[in-house]
């Protein structure tokens, strides 16, 4: 006596592209497509680490481009190098600032207000939900300074290869008080 399989009697079936009309395909064709799909899945895990596959991509804020332009336009020229009116920055500071914003822009609380410190570093000021945040950027260090519950909190970052992680951690600590 013929007994239908569960697959044949199921009222609802979830079909994949391979299943679609598989009964009228030749077995060889189905197998070939299965192999193709399996290979493409395999390629993904072969070429990328798991962390890379699941890592969220950085959302670049709209202000980043204009800040980068402002920084680049403020680099000393031959004309304003001779008479320093404190309106220009040197190339090393500009490079450090551009790199900092590129790495951390999505973490920062708002568009910064920028100016040059008296010693030539770049000062960036931000409004946050808990108060003001100031970040000083120089070629050799970054200083984060914020007021939490009326008290100052400060961090100096000298290992610039971990600046993103440090900024994320610092801002996270502000949020939790």
């Amino acid at each position: 006596m013929y007994s239908p399989t569960a697959d044949e009697v199921a009222s609802i079936q979830i079909k994949t592209p391979i299943d679609w009309n598989s009964k009228i395909r030749k077995p060889g064709v189905t197998e070939r497509y299965k192999r193709l799909i399996m290979r493409s899945k395999k390629d993904l895990s072969d070429t990328k680490l798991e962390n890379d596959v699941y890592k969220l991509s950085m959302v670049i804020p709209e202000w980043l481009k204009s800040i980068q332009e402002s920084i680049n336009k403020s680099v000393y020229t031959v004309a304003n190098l001779e008479q320093d009116d404190e309106r220009s920055i040197n190339q090393e500071v500009a490079d450090a600032a551009s790199d900092f914003f590129l790495k951390t822009a999505d973490l920062l609380p708002s568009e910064p207000h920028i100016y040059r410190s008296k010693k030539g570093d770049l000062v960036s000021e931000y409004k946050t939900n808990t108060g003001n945040l100031t970040i000083i950027i120089s070629p050799s260090f970054v200083i984060l300074f914020a007021i939490v519950n009326g008290d100052p909190v400060e961090r100096k970052i000298t290992k610039l290869n971990v600046v993103r992680m440090e900024v994320e951690e610092f801002l996270g600590s502000l949020a939790t008080g």
Binding site: S70, K73, S74, Y115, S117, P152
Partner: protein, 187 residues
């Protein structure tokens, strides 16, 4: 009434002021993002580890002292290249500075009258000394914080025939803003 003659030691309730000058913008920056706060450069010292301050009165701003200092502040503003505008002082009672700590190291507030000729003289001059191993920019950040938290703005007005610029109007906005949000005003 004779103008106050300051003692060698700064009294706890004396009003200590930091001069505020307008500061230049970056040449390539159009200030799309405004900032309602005191400019850090007003608390930076370019030359050495001592931050200059004025003693404006025994418990509040004394008119004679203010007039004495105003002439000197305006003269100082004209020594900048290019010239800048003097906008007034941000003041705080001495006890809020003396003994405050930066990373565990105390700030010293010292009377340091300048004896010189004409407008270079300043018998009301004082200064704070930067603790060792503290970056000068960090010192400026802490001073700005102390003045903002405990202090008050004393802008100069048109009677002094100073050129008021946009910074001054922003300065007044900041003053009102700080007065509104500062929970320590009643202290």
């Amino acid at each position: 009434m004779a103008r106050w003659k300051p003692d060698k030691k700064i009294g706890k309730h004396e009003l200590i002021g930091r001069r505020l000058f307008d500061e230049p913008m970056l040449i390539g920056y159009s200030e799309e993002q405004s900032f309602e706060g005191l400019d850090l450069r007003n608390f930076e010292e370019k030359r050495d580890d001592e931050t200059s301050l004025d003693r404006l009165g025994r418990t509040g701003v004394e008119k004679g002292v203010k007039n004495y200092l105003l002439r000197r502040a305006i003269a100082a503003s004209e020594n900048f290249k290019p010239k800048r505008t003097f906008n007034g002082w941000f003041t705080v009672a001495a006890h809020f500075i003396e003994g405050e700590q930066i990373n565990g190291k105390a700030i010293s507030l010292i009377a340091s009258p300048i004896i010189d000729e004409d407008l270079k003289e300043n018998i009301y001059h004082a200064h704070v000394v930067k603790p060792d191993e503290t970056d000068s920019i960090v010192m400026a950040l802490y001073l700005r914080h102390l003045f903002t938290k405990y202090g008050k703005a004393h802008p100069v007005n048109n009677d002094n025939k100073l050129t008021l610029n946009t910074f001054t109007s922003k300065f007044l906005i900041v003053k009102n803003f700080i007065n509104k949000i500062n929970p320590f005003k009643s202290r």
